[in-house]
């Protein structure tokens, strides 16, 4: 009832302002428009608000809101420009969303314009939707996150919810299939985004199995909704009953089909959980490795720890927590489970009591928390995924790349430490770290970078990140004021002892300039490039600070990634393979620098760039300062020049450059 009154009240205000705007002559129209737009901006906070605006869009348009603006003629709009305008904030984003609503009204026949037909308007909106998937799924790109306020993000996301609820998406299949491929190839730990797209396709698009272009989208749907022939048209209960009627051979074939479906895109269906628990409970233990799609190596580990694994599977896996099966399979493959410390750690987790605050965060991070699954089960399930897919860890819509990077590193190189940290954090809602001999306790220090955690994260991240973020921030505070980048000391303290002591930063605090960039690039190549570092591989991930630049190459901000390896790609070009915790497929850093996530020799979860392009965005990294010096003279000058030109013409414009030499 209260909402009803509020809506009515809002509508009255809108009409009142619209009235004033229509009655104004051209002399005071700009002032009245500003008020009207201010009110529309406020209304965009809710879907009801959007409905109110949509219902009046004809009047708003007739009153002249678009007059004398680039939006005046609906036939002359460019879909590719919408994204940029939406990002540029009120009032631009407000007039832009009005333009989209006008087109929607034209497409739906709710408003007539002589300039453009309903079909043309419909096509235009489809184009806009495809070009703005980041908003449709509320997964803004790093660049977007840096420039848009929370309110603006929310407003634009609402716009796309409103549009996609009202428009068919038939012509966007190819783009959606490509988007799904790019996401799935990275095997992210959180699979909500691909599931949302797949659900959207199922709901909104007619697919024809006989058409080539539809097959790919159907294969994604199959993975989730009917992974095997036996699941077609059945609920999970019906499927379980059917399993009872299968003989051993049939079960084996069923398990094979199921695991193939999972391995194709890394997506697990609910039926998979039914089958796996059925196999274990029914003592079909030799079929379990098939059901998890294990290689002979993974199968050996299953055979070695059958009892232990059976136990934790039954305690964790549930149809509403099924995605963890993929993570567990990968844990068996990568050998994490072979460590005694890891198995002990996981056993300990089976009996913990989770702190109510942590429980709240975990349930909030779960899209549809089911009462049959406990927060502990969600947490352990997420831990399987993190341990099995360390490169799939993401930061969500949070400025917490540091924490995500840490979780990924520990997962690979200190998994038992990670498990122990998760346990402490889950039970006490607190964490403590050592920094230069002093203890830092998350509960006793100030705020971190993130004020409102976006809970679109895995359960491990929501458990750890609020504390890690605070600890990291406190370390940065304590390390600041030393005339050098505090990361020099913070990285080893936060991530652990395998971080190299040497630290190179292109930015010099003392002179407030980029100093001896040539030398910086030399140290970088000597650190990681096999042709100049004596043919060595990187052993541990190197925490690297990079500049984020816009698609025009303009400086946007700072970001943390991990450099994992530098190797030749299939075409023989040296590439830097790195973990970018923001999980982005399509990125454009300007100057044609576009990180690739798939098809250039990347493992699942890696991003990659030609080595010189990566170097051209790097501003800080760690290195072995005892070994580097002897290698610096081998780096060819042309290569250094190439990096420097790219750097100077992009983020470098925001800094002073000094050419004096310095000791690295």
């Amino acid at each position: 009832m209260v909402d009803q009154t509020l809506t009515e009240n809002n509508n009255q205000k809108l009409q009142e302002l619209l009235n004033e705007f229509s009655e104004a002559t051209s002399l005071t129209k700009p002032e009245k428009a500003s008020r009207l737009m201010g009110q529309i901006d406020v209304l965009t906070d809710s879907m009801e608000g959007y409905s109110l605006i949509y219902n009046s869009i004809g009047d708003i348009s007739e009153a002249g809101i678009f007059e004398n603006s680039p939006w005046a003629d609906p036939a002359k709009l460019v879909a590719a420009l919408v994204n940029g305008t939406l990002k540029s904030g009120h009032p631009n984003s407000t007039i832009e969303l009005l333009s989209e609503l006008r087109l929607l009204a034209i497409a739906k026949g709710d408003y007539k314009s002589g300039k453009i037909t309903a079909e043309e308007a419909n096509n235009f909106i489809q184009e806009v939707i495809v070009a703005n998937l980041e908003f449709v799924f509320n997964e803004p790109l790093e660049e977007t996150r840096l420039i848009m306020s929370d309110h603006e993000l929310h407003k634009v996301h609402n716009l796309f919810r409103f549009l996609s609820d009202r428009i068919h998406l038939d012509d966007v299949k190819e783009t959606l299939a490509e988007e799904l491929t790019l996401i799935c190839e990275q095997r992210p730990v959180v699979t909500e985004k691909q599931r949302k797209i797949i659900a959207l396709v199922k709901e909104k698009i007619e697919l024809d199995p006989n058409r080539e272009e539809d097959k790919k989208l159907l294969s994604f749907q199959r993975c989730i909704y009917r992974p095997t022939k036996n699941t077609v048209g059945k609920s999970t209960e019906q499927y379980k009953k059917l399993l009872l009627s299968l003989n051993n051979t049939e079960l084996y074939l069923e398990a094979q089909e199921m695991s193939q479906s999972m391995l194709e895109y890394g997506l697990v269906s609910q039926y998979h959980a039914v089958l796996l628990t059925f196999l274990i409970e029914g003592n079909h233990l030799q079929t379990v490795p098939v059901c998890m799609g294990l290689t002979p190596i993974g199968e050996t580990r299953w055979n070695e720890h059958t009892t232990y694994l059976s136990d934790i599977i039954l305690k964790t896996v549930h149809i509403y927590n099924a995605q963890c099966i993929y993570g567990l399979a990968k844990m068996l493959e990568n050998g994490v489970i072979a460590r005694e410390a890891v198995r002990s750690g996981l056993s300990n987790l089976m009996s913990i009591k989770i702190h109510p605050k942590v429980e709240e965060r975990i349930l909030k991070s779960t899209k549809n928390p089911h009462q049959a699954v406990s927060a502990r089960q969600y947490l352990v399930g997420a831990l399987f995924r993190i341990l099995g897919q360390p490169l799939g860890v993401g930061q969500g819509n949070n400025p917490t790349c540091q924490s995500a990077r840490g979780i990924s590193m520990w997962s690979q190189h200190a998994p038992a430490k990670l498990i122990n940290m998760v346990q402490t954090a889950a039970v006490t809602n607190d964490l403590s770290f050592r920094f230069e001999g002093q203890e830092i306790k998350a509960s006793e220090i100030g705020k971190g970078l993130v004020q409102n955690l976006d809970h679109n994260l895995d359960a491990v991240s929501v458990t750890l990140v609020p504390m890690l973020d605070r600890v990291y921030n406190e370390m940065m505070l304590r390390g600041s004021g030393r005339a050098e980048d505090p990361h020099k000391w913070v990285n080893p303290a936060l991530y652990g002892q395998w971080i190299q002591i040497g630290f190179a930063s292109a930015y010099d605090y003392f002179s407030n300039a980029i100093v001896d960039f040539d030398g910086f690039v030399k140290v970088f190549y000597a650190m990681c490039h096999p042709e100049y570092n004596g043919g060595h591989h990187l052993i541990y991930p190197n925490p690297v600070g990079i500049f984020i630049t816009s698609s025009k190459g303009d400086m946007l901000g700072f970001h943390a990634v991990s450099l994992l390896r530098v190797e030749k790609d299939p075409t023989g070009q040296y590439r830097a393979y790195f973990l970018n915790p923001n999980n982005e497929g399509r990125q454009d850093w300007g100057q044609k620098i576009k990180p690739s996530v798939f098809g250039k020799g990347e493992k699942h979860g890696e991003s990659s760039l030609p080595i010189h392009e990566f170097a051209a965005r790097t501003y800080a990294f760690h290195f072995n300062d005892l070994e580097a010096e002897s290698k610096l003279d081998n780096i060819p000058l042309e290569e250094i020049q190439k990096v420097k030109t790219l750097a100077k013409d992009s983020w470098g414009k925001s800094y002073t450059w000094l050419e004096i030499k310095k000791k690295w």
């Binding site: 009240n9 205000k13 302002l17 002399l27 002032e31 500003s34 009207l36 201010g38 406020v42």
Partner: protein, 406 residues
């Protein structure tokens, strides 16, 4: 019926009102506006108001306006009050009209006039330097029987001839005098501080009689006000009306609108602050227009016309005893920080039933907020509308302290 109104100063809303009322007008303003006027078919005479010379004076302007048949001049802004006074003196063949205009432009003269006429005013004095202010404060302290260690009496200083809060400083102590006063402030008017409820009146005067009286309740000077007045002030309306008519008689106002500020002190006395005869700041006429549902700007202009008939007056003004049900208020928003990068409309405001609209615009990039002169430039206003004046007061006080810019 006036043949043509000469609007002294540039105001788009006033021009719009004239167009809608279909009244003949010509705008007199700085040459900067000439192009816009031409493009929009606005009758226009460019004039350098801040220049007085053989070629720039009221007789010259009078000549220029003959082409438009202008016979009534209307001052829209403080700086055009003498110009309009001079022209109207000619149009009405009455030299005192100009003298009255001077009265509005010198706050010391204005107060003295009020005092002579029996209006209650605070203590005031023209001061010429910091020593003068200190001496004035000292005498006030003595009159207030200050004991050693007690606070100094508060003193306000104001330029003789500026609009509203421009150049207005509140000095709370002797050291304030040293810190806040600048040499260029002098000479100016110093006056004692009057505690109490501040409000302004907008009296539409025709033939020397108040034809409509709006009372604007100030919640905080320079920040917020609302219309019509709340219940306390409304209870005193008859008295206010009497004092107002006294003021009109005393100043000899025949036509136009006056906008004085008053204080109602706790002992229930009304004290006169100052008076202006142009469009008041704080979007007061906009609020009055909404609350009483009339074209307040149009009425402001038309009241200057001696030939307006009673019928025409009735048509354009609300009845003298009108009491609107809905209160309209606004609060001017100033950034609280020196450097701002974004605008955030608070959730509580969006859910506030009294919230009407706002015209705040986000900063383009990180923006430095320039130092405040008077109350500085506000970044926009937030408007409210509702039935309860107490709730309105509460809201306006609250949002004055809410930071919209971060």
């Amino acid at each position: 019926m006036a043949k043509c109104f000469a609007l002294m100063g540039w105001s788009l809303p006033v021009i719009e009102s004239m167009q809608k009322l279909n009244k003949p007008y010509v705008v007199v303003s700085f040459p900067d506006f000439e192009n816009y006027a031409k493009e929009n078919n606005i009758p226009f005479v460019p004039y350098q108001f801040d220049e007085w010379s053989d070629t720039s004076n009221s007789l010259d302007l009078h000549e220029k306006l003959k082409a438009f048949d202008a016979d009534v001049a209307v001052p829209l802004f403080e700086e055009t009050v003498e110009w309009a006074g001079a022209l109207n003196s000619i149009y009405r063949d009455d030299p005192r009209v100009l003298n009255r205009a001077f009265l509005f432009r010198n706050k010391a003269m204005m107060k003295r006039k009020a005092l002579i006429g029996g209006l209650r005013v605070g203590l005031f004095e023209e001061v010429h330097n910091k020593e003068g202010v200190k001496a004035f404060m000292k005498r006030l302290n003595q009159a207030n029987l200050q004991i050693d260690g007690e606070e100094d009496s508060w003193v306000h200083i104001k330029p003789f001839a500026s609009a509203g809060a421009v150049g207005h400083r509140l000095l709370r102590s002797m050291s304030d005098v040293d810190e806040k006063c600048q040499d260029e402030d002098f000479p100016c008017l110093a006056e004692s501080h009057l505690p109490g409820q501040e409000f302004s009146c907008e009296a539409f005067v025709h033939g020397g009689k108040i034809k409509f009286l709006n009372i604007t309740e100030y919640v905080k000077l320079g920040y917020s006000n609302f219309i019509p007045e709340g219940n306390l002030l409304h209870g005193k309306r008859d008295r206010i009306m009497k004092e107002m008519q006294k003021l009109v008689d005393l100043f000899g106002i025949q036509y136009g609108m006056i906008h004085p500020e008053w204080f109602l002190t706790e002992d229930d006395t009304l004290s006169f602050g100052e008076v202006a005869c142009r469009i008041p700041g704080g979007h007061i006429l906009e609020l009055a227009g909404k609350a009483y549902d009339f074209d307040a700007l149009g009425a402001f202009v038309l009241c200057h016309d001696p030939s307006l008939t009673d019928e025409e007056l009735k048509e354009i003004l609300p009845p003298l005893d009108a009491r609107p049900k809905q209160f309209y208020g606004n609060v001017m928003i100033y950034p609280h920080k020196n450097s701002i990068s974004k605008l955030e409309i608070p959730e509580e405001l969006k859910e506030e039933p009294y919230f009407l609209d706002h015209n705040l615009i986000p900063p383009m990039t990180t923006q430095k907020v320039s130092d405040r002169e008077g109350f500085g430039n506000h970044f926009g206003t937030v408007n409210f509308k509702g039935e309860d004046p107490d709730r309105m007061t509460e809201l306006l006080l609250h949002y004055e302290n809410v930071d919209f810019y971060h």
